[in-house]
Point group: C2
Chain length 229, copies 2
């Protein structure tokens, strides 16, 4: 094992350190944030920090660094109170990455990278037509993080649009079937292969594998042995 | 496409709705949080909400719902100010999931699920010996989220322990080579296959594929066509 402590971390070259620290959290979600300004100028930015906050009410969070690329996204969210979140799939992952370039405010990243804006159900922010799982979000609150001058944005999910085939019997959305990508570090994109769904864990019995529809299969004999030994 | 709006969302059965909303954010990170209480009683809990906050200083965030299972984890973090984050791999993903069962405070999840606590570099919280990428974190701040009574925990990375082979030339950690898993929804576990790393995006040129060490390969001709059309 290689060990980095605070003093060795401080001696690392800045970009090396940025790549290293960005790899620590594990796989990240890959989403495009769609916004518009008060004049209807569209904006699209890739964000890898969208995180589930709660199901009831349906809340989502994301981290933004207003001085970095998604600065137009941040100001649009503050000005309009609305944004869309669009899962990125293998169909357009490279175009999605290209939205992280520093385009001018008057340029729409939709146009530049070749993605299609669409307006759904009277929601006043643009969705990405190519995305098979997307939702409209209303800004609830922004929490400033003093430690590094970032913003934690909290929003409420107002409407969801998802490919019918991906919604399973028990409500689970099979995002792997939509070829949703995951990110690691700053710039690595990945597709996935499901190991299994697992049953709700109870103290007195081992977990069981579930089908993609959430139905129990045979208990996992190998894991039973591990837990009981 | 299937559409859910606020009124249809409100009519969904509670668990269906929970699974649906938990699927929206995309792939989630899979980590075990190691803590101990003031008496040295160990605790281990799976968390899927660890998120990168910044590289300089090296900051990490995570969401905790104190009234749900990781309540011992939350109180230990508040009491001691320290915790470890341990990436979950295919070697122990089922044991990791089992830590989400409601064990009593005096039970160590390490013992119950068969994972090995280890103490490294004088850090006063337990690491998971089986994890190939883990780090010690010092609590900086807790932000209360009123909207659903959750806590956003902000911590500073103090020391990192990672399998030597995974650290690439430019600082990127190849977490796929460590068989780190990703989560979707509440209970689905996935391994990954890399599509590619991509070059830093600039407005005036298409992105290029990078090797896992961050070196440029030939520009991606297909994508060039997409961006220029």
């Amino acid at each position: 094992m290689k060990t980095f402590n605070r003093s060795t971390l401080n001696t690392l070259e800045a970009r090396y350190r940025t790549r290293l620290i960005n790899s620590l959290s594990g796989f990240k979600s890959a989403n495009l944030i769609g916004t518009q300004d008060a004049d209807g100028q569209l904006n699209l930015a890739i964000v890898s920090s969208v995180v589930h906050l709660g199901a009831n009410p349906p809340l989502i969070g994301m981290i933004m660094r207003p001085n970095s690329v998604p600065r137009h996204t941040f100001s649009n969210i503050i000005d309009t109170g609305l944004f869309t979140i669009n899962q990125i799939s293998t169909e357009f992952w490279q175009a999605a990455h290209q939205t992280s370039a520093r385009y001018e405010q008057e340029q729409s990243e939709f146009d530049v990278v070749g993605l299609t804006p669409e307006f759904l159900e009277n929601f006043d922010a643009p969705f990405v037509a190519e995305s098979q799982l997307k939702y409209g979000v209303k800004l609830l609150e922004v929490k400033h993080i003093e430690a590094n001058n970032t913003e934690f944005i909290i929003g409420e999910v107002c409407q969801i649009h998802v490919a019918d085939s991906a919604v399973r019997n028990d409500g689970y959305i099979d995002i792997e079937s939509l070829e949703t990508v995951a990110v690691s570090g700053l710039d690595s994109y990945h597709v996935t292969n499901r190991l299994s769904r697992l049953s709700y864990a109870k103290p007195d019995r081992p977990v069981a594998s579930l089908t993609v529809d959430g139905e129990k299969t045979a208990p996992n004999a190998d894991y039973f042995a591990v837990v009981r030994n």
